[in-house]
Symmetry: D2
Subunit: 354 residues, 4 copies
């Protein structure tokens, strides 16, 4: 209820602050009998972790996941999977300067108002560190989703856009560069741009595109829990996300119905896919694709004026080790949340018919 | 679970197909003691109903809501509010042509695949007629949200955009024209454009902008149930919606953090509001504003080729009374869903502190 | 959340007060493709309705269920089933005497305290009339539960007990008498006793035993949602219920483990069934059986002293048409709630394995 | 959904098998600002832990709880409280004899059928070890429930009953003996009896009575989530529980309404309390009291015949360190579950009125 759980049948509950002892979670409802590849789970975490390249935060966090339950003889048992990632490299002193003051466009102010006080160290619960737990659960969801392929990649950094349609991209190239953009030429430019931004002590936003292929027909529920509505919520729940569009998205509003409609082939596939693989809230077997907009990280390493918790103006300076652009590290998070939504609906779809 | 409920504490469950006996719903968790203005509820329904102007579908449906429970002596009792809107003007014969064939970009095909068969009359459960129940519940939620102002309006039709920022608009003008665009000059152009589209037997998409003002600080939950994530899900669950963005949205990705951050005033308000009234998933007291993209209605009154449920090609022709552009009638739906989200979080916020 | 929904996947939400326009509900999550026998649904309602025999309340209520949605061509469509039972014979004047005063052992006092006021007519939402909606949903759940046999019967009225074990009873005899006790000799004595109680203007309690046979192995979830825990909650949620026990129940506490353990046969069945068909919260394929204790109805047709809402003593007199003993009419309610629990867990069990 | 969560607003999710690395859980929805007394949490755990007296299992488990999140500067922060209790003294070898065979009246057989295989070590997830997590959460719930007094005690062991009404007992004596029966004379007899049972290698059942005092008026929801229905579910979800009754319970069925009704005093309290502090599913401010029946522990240290997973008869012998009677150690579990239910409803009650 308080919003730390996601999913209906395949359900993740997370806990943990960035500078507490550990973050982690519980996955309830994972079916029994999945032969878990634990290494691939850790690999997904490694894709998200700080310090992996020159264009992300230089914090060193091993982000090693430890499983406590729900796995026996290498297989899921059907009972809840409890796990934790211990925090090992937290420098709480880095944050004493924000104890009594509010960073602009952070959650500091609203947490104080909502709860009466806050764990100010590193943003506490509002830190994107929480998303590591999502990556763990998403990696398990991927293993449940046999045959489904989920690929996210960076398609925009600042004003710099990857102009090719996803069908022309080689998803195997996503991990070949630090930006996680599958087009090498664009990736190089983006990387240079992020480095320049970093040098300024500034940050920049970006867009991640995600494509889910080979999704069975029939996932998603007709009214409130439409497939794209849950995907949208999933994405918007990731830190820094400001927008979500799927299929034709915001551009589709400019089209006429006669041009926008996806005509059928005789096998039920469609000639075009402006629907984005979802019709009436339900997957139709075509590729599901969507864009996720990330704002620039709010922590800039510059001097600025703000207020303290007494309402006084204070001068301060951004410190610490932060990402100049969040999208490269957010790619595995987008994939994880996609996998959670699809796994949940796949289980639910087992109950559609008598 | 099957997705016909929305909200946690203030919770709406809806039922009904477009051509069944009635649609309706149950609102559970509405606090006791609200003096309900029943007329204003019906007024909201009237804003959504067909036949209200020349640019919307000419179906005649009175859409009269009948309350069955939960109200006594003019006040909510704290028990569930059951209601129904009887279907009175359904012409099922209009739909015999789609019984065995699939309309492009409709839910016909996926319903058949998901459930094994479908109530094909008027789209059945996939019809936007279901949203009338949301408007009823939203109108009650508005009455719970004393002091909060929610205004939605049409800000784009096709490529035609309302270029003024919302702060320069007079929300009192929204209902003064058929398009529900508060800028009369733009509204006139949009209206003419929709009429032209209608004459072609075609349809066109659009964007609705919604502004919620005077929202208390502290609504929304930190992680998965962020305020904007629930708003996004709420909007994406409305028929024909393809995208959602709040605050700086997709444009915000192009900005640098130093420019994007909303600097504080001494009273906790912010000098700018690129955050869109939500920080870390929690309302900060500033205006909440967001855009919702609607695709063009899939039913075009033109001849087209499609397939039947045996996989054969069939020639068909769009019939019936349909909207050439969905956004004017969707304005009250957007407001209703906004109210449902805010009412739910307002109740939940009562449990934040000891 | 406010407690008017039951079930996770097969989920019933009810609404309605005893003297409002209608009671009813929404069943969400019912799988598509069930050929509904509507007559048998109404038959279940008739088993519950007032006025059916000399030992129950003489109110006349037709209790005709009207379905609004979710059924097409005689089959469930997978979309929510909305239904209403219109109230037709309410005599609200009967209740003006309790408008400002509190009947002992009723919900009057606590409703006023909890909600600030109440719909006092006929008990409002606290009336057992609400259970008619459960019977509708339970009747549909029974049709989903092909092959499962659920039989409830009256096993005790006051101190008068049916001493035979259920294995010796002929469940076909349950409906052969007004008490719904399958042993005719005991039934006659109970009937006479209830008539005598009625003549006194008094009421008496009773016990209903329920047996569910042919339940698949594996229903129920290991920890909080154990099969018997949900059955217990389901029964305790019925008006006037004071206790629940399954299998060996309260008597089992007196036994030693060596005697209480159910030894296995080679086919996995057990030689005894003190477990009551549930082990570790999960059905084991043996008969599930349990007892439900009902207190005497609180409305006695006698003079009594009570207090009004100002805290003044008032003299009053029970009026109206009430049941002298609730258990005969509660039999179909117990069956309905059992069916709801089993149907829900049967759907959930589809997700246990990969 | 898979049943490892309890509560709506104050919500506990648990994980862990008896012989895995750790058990633990996440408490979501705990309000911010509670000054947590961590020592009293550990004290509650110590009341439940093995090895504390001669009449309970002699396993040595420190059961030390480690908190990972949600607490800062000694206070709850409003964010989820993650915790773990590491398993330190598990002797998995003790259980190799049950790897392929099914212990009677345990969950072994149904787990294998439900999930396809099981973690057989120590009962895995079906072990009562899981309840330690409930005790942690219940101890925190108690600290939220300022002013409410919850006292559980052993009122029956086998046929040996504590015959005094609870009003005549001194709850301060509960912890003065190993049985947790507040009447010393009865406690001594029970203790001797349990020791004799233990010597036989056998086990015996018992009853725990729980009394919650000073509960605010208005907790509980009218229909499905009645206060006593949730209490019943809570208790029935504890391992080995076979029955639940509150107020007059099963004995109340023998009474006439005229005698069973609780007449009002002018202040709204009642002269008698056969209602058990709950009317219409809602607390009325009087003492809430109920009985919980526990069957004899299924593990007896005797030779017995059972079947293996191939359906062959096998001879085996109960081994390990087990409780001869579960009720003394279950007392804190009953209290914890009571606290969880009351805390949840107390938060929910904040939303009853406008």
């Amino acid at each position: 209820m308080a919003g730390n759980s996601f999913g209906h049948l395949f359900r993740l509950t997370t806990f943990g602050e960035s500078h507490g002892k550990a973050i982690g979670g519980v996955i309830d409802g994972c079916p029994a009998g999945i032969n878990l590849d634990l290494e691939s789970i850790q690999n997904e975490l490694n894709r998200r972790k700080p310090g992996q390249s020159a264009i992300v935060t230089q914090r060193k966090e091993p982000d090693t996941v430890e499983f406590y339950s729900g796995i026996f003889d290498g297989k899921t048992t059907g009972t809840p999977i409890g796990f934790a990632i211990h925090n090992t490299n937290q420098k709480s002193k880095d944050y004493s300067h924000i104890k009594d003051s509010y960073r602009p466009s952070h959650a500091d102010y609203v947490y104080d108002k909502k709860y009466g006080f806050r764990d100010y160290r590193g943003g506490g619960r509002s830190s994107a560190r929480e998303t590591a737990s999502r990556v763990v659960a998403g990696a398990i969801a991927k293993q449940l989703l046999q045959g489904v392929h989920i690929n996210a990649f960076v398609s925009q950094v600042g004003k710099m856009k990857l102009e090719k349609p996803y069908q022309e991209l080689d998803f195997d190239q996503i991990e070949s560069n630090a930006v996680r953009c599958p087009d090498q030429a664009t990736a190089s430019k983006m990387e240079d741009y992020i480095k320049a931004i970093k040098k300024e002590g500034d940050t920049i936003g970006g867009v991640i595109t995600c494509v889910a292929q080979n999704v069975p027909i029939g996932l998603g529920e007709p009214v409130f829990d439409k497939l794209h509505a849950e995907l949208g919520k999933a994405m918007l729940s990731i830190n820094a996300v400001k927008g979500f569009e799927y299929g034709s998205g915001f551009k589709g509003v400019q089209m006429k119905g006669s041009a926008h409609n996806d005509q059928f082939n005789e096998d039920g596939t469609t000639k075009t896919n402006l629907s984005g693989g979802v019709q009436g809230g339900i997957s139709n077997g075509m590729d599901i694709y969507f864009n996720v907009a990330f704002k620039p990280v709010a922590t800039v390493l510059q001097a600025y004026e703000t207020i303290d918790n007494k309402g006084n103006k204070v001068q301060t300076q951004g410190k610490g080790r932060h990402d100049p652009c969040v999208v490269p590290r957010a790619v595995p998070i987008v994939e994880a949340m996609t996998a959670l939504v699809l796994a949940d609906f796949q289980l639910l779809a087992r109950t559609n018919k008598k």
